[in-house]
Amino acid sequence: MDYFIELFLSGLTRGSIYALIALGYTMVYGIIGLINFAHGEIYMIGAFTSFIVATTLSIYGFPLAAIVVVAGVAAAIWSSAYGYTVEKIAYKPLRHAPRLAPLISAIGMSILLQNYVLLAQTSDFLAFPALIPEFAFMEPVAHIIGSSDLVILITTAVVMLALTLFIKFTRIGKAMRATAQDRTMALLVGINVDRVISATFILGSALAAIGGLLIASHIGQINFAIGFIAGIKAFTAAVLGGIGSIPGAVLGSLVLGLTESFATGYVSSDYEDVFAFSLLVLILIFKPSGLLGKADTKKV
């Protein structure tokens, strides 16, 4: 039973990590229907920015609390700036282009950003400073769940809640929902759609940056290529939950994380990804638009 609980908790952590990245995917998809393959790179840039800022500050002798706050804010600001710029350069000119054109420019952007960080920084793995301290009160259960797992779980829950409230109640959130529903109609009722799209990219990138900071701190290392696998997994999770749906992205991420964890625990980690993708195929066969996605019925 202990083993089951341990696997369950590690699955939850893994799922929460995916969720922080998947939220950005799903928001962008909901609004402009684009699979933003460069989103994984934005997450990587968030992790790198927080690494650079945190290490610099710690070299100049700032206290840990200040480092965490400043690194987090800096990562969010710069990731958002990258997200915003990527949208303006690679996707905005293609808004009326054939459906697959932005997908290819997204793949190009992903290659570009990866190599940019490789050249500007280093190809090597870097030690990420431990921004999440080991809490004393966690010591009795440390063999089951670590402090960083706890912080990740809480952050994901808080972020999801805040995001849901934001989308539900703020002006820009309402505008986002309107744009997601019908872009032309939103334009007609006077919503500045360009600004809504920018806001979506900024918000999604900021979430990815927070994810970058937490995950890098959790696993203790970064390099320029970490965005790719995380991005693919988060994308899978978003689709599993029903792409475009925010609770769906979180649910899909948790299901994916738990599946991988139990597959490793009870079968073999050799095939954890095979299990994850097979589950995806199975779920989509029975629910073709994901767990919480709206069925896409087309009326003629």
Binding site: A101, S278, V281
Partner: protein, 412 residues
């Protein structure tokens, strides 16, 4: 070229923005172990100047494009590309075809083995592009796991040769047919899925195939791969390495011609028109009485078939296969070939396959900036040519009254 002060100011703002954007990553370099920080201020200057120039160039291009668009609208809307125009002009058509085929045939003798070798790779990607074009370009089914079929072809030759000492020529059709079979297998469960859901399932399928090859040692020898796969024979003739490569090149030329012929015939067949209908509007297509299941499955199977063939050739060419060659990035590049070429356009796919496979090779001069440039060029090409290099020209069917009346009379 008119550059107003306003535009220059705007470009200055852009360059300021990029200085801010790239600040942490370009300027600061930290060493967490020795606890030192290096501030590379000179990079600020490079970024500022670079982004300023690029922004001015992009603006100038946009102005020109807007003007050209204004002029064009007055003239004519849709124009065929230069190449298609050329091919349809009797005066140019045959000399052009003769020139191209002459060049293709003489290529390995004009250039070094290296050039012939990368050209063979480019030809392989042409066939892969044309195969995926059936699925994505013509039938409109977004497939992100095309590389799986390529892997199946490659491994079927490698394994058949390893276990049963089957030769290249025997393995070639088997590889193609096996891939087509897997195409059908993938096709069945995803029949109900649409658009991007289909994309992720195909991506998952591609990954599953790669992971199985990686983990199932007893079957595929795992990540260490299978080496010493023989090159194709030519009636039992012993060949030196150079000759074998040139032979491979001609083999690929032959396969490309065959593919172009078959794909071209397919596109204009009853099946091809059904695929186009499926791409344009699934519901209308069904309402027209087209059997959606059947044509979707044939699209998957026929697309996969070519990938299987090229897979066998891949195994023979590199004489070594391991799962690392069949990653998602490979699928993405093949997809980029189709989209950049102009969905559904055969000439376009050929051009973009040549560009996208030869470009990284010729960019080698840029050494470490190679992949950076490749990513940037991919983005730039999509922005400047979103509908693809050469848009597919729909065949138009004209109603010739006199002829059909005659035909009717004949029937009577």
């Amino acid at each position: 070229m008119m550059m107003t002060v306003k535009e220059i100011k705007k470009s200055l703002l852009v360059s300021l923005w990029f200085v801010f954007l790239t600040f942490p990553i370009m300027v600061i370099k930290v060493n967490p172990i020795e606890r030192t920080v290096t501030w590379r201020w000179s990079n600020v200057l490079y970024v500022a100047v670079g982004s300023f120039v690029i922004s001015l160039l992009a603006k100038a291009w946009l102005v020109r494009k807007a003007r050209a668009a204004g002029r064009q609208q007055a003239a004519c809307q849709a124009r065929a590309s230069i190449l298609q125009e050329l091919l349809h002009r009797p005066g140019y058509r045959y000399p052009l075809i003769i020139m191209f085929s002459g060049l293709a045939l003489a290529f390995p003798h004009l250039f070094s083995t290296y050039q012939a070798n990368i050209m063979t790779t480019a030809l392989m990607y042409i066939v892969l592009g044309l195969g995926l074009n059936i699925v994505v370009g013509v039938a409109g089914l977004l497939d992100l796991g095309y590389v799986a079929f390529y892997a199946i072809g490659a491994y079927s030759y490698a394994l058949l040769n390893l276990n049963f000492h089957l030769g290249f020529w025997a393995a070639l059709p088997i590889g193609g047919l096996l891939a087509a079979l897997f195409g059908l297998l993938l096709g069945f469960p995803v029949l109900r899925l649409r658009g991007d859901y289909l994309a992720i399932v195909t991506l998952g399928f591609g990954e599953i195939i790669r992971l199985v090859l990686e983990n199932w040692n007893a079957f595929s020898k795992g990540p260490s791969g299978i080496s010493n796969i023989p090159r194709p024979g030519f009636f039992g003739l012993e060949m030196s390495l150079d000759h074998a490569m040139i032979y491979m090149y001609y083999l690929m030329i032959g396969l490309v011609l065959l593919t172009v012929f078959v794909v071209n015939r397919l596109q204009h067949s009853r099946l091809g028109r059904a695929w186009l209908a499926l791409r344009e509007d699934e519901i209308a297509c069904q309402a027209m009485g087209i059997d959606k299941t059947r044509i979707k499955l044939t699209a998957f199977a026929l697309g996969a078939f070519w990938a299987g063939l090229v897979g066998v050739i891949f195994a023979a060419k590199t004489t070594f296969v391991n799962p690392a060659s069949f990653t998602f990035l490979e699928s993405a590049i093949i997809l980029a070939i189709v989209v950049l070429g102009g969905m559904g356009s055969i000439v376009g796919v050929i051009c973009s396959a040549l560009i996208l496979t030869l470009l990284p090779e010729y960019l080698r001069a840029l050494s470490e900036y190679r992949m950076l440039a490749f990513g940037a060029i991919l983005v730039a090409m999509m922005i400047f040519k979103p509908e693809g290099l050469i848009a597919a020209v729909r065949r138009t069917y004209r109603f010739h009254e006199r002829k059909s009346v005659a035909a009717l009379q004949d029937d009577e």
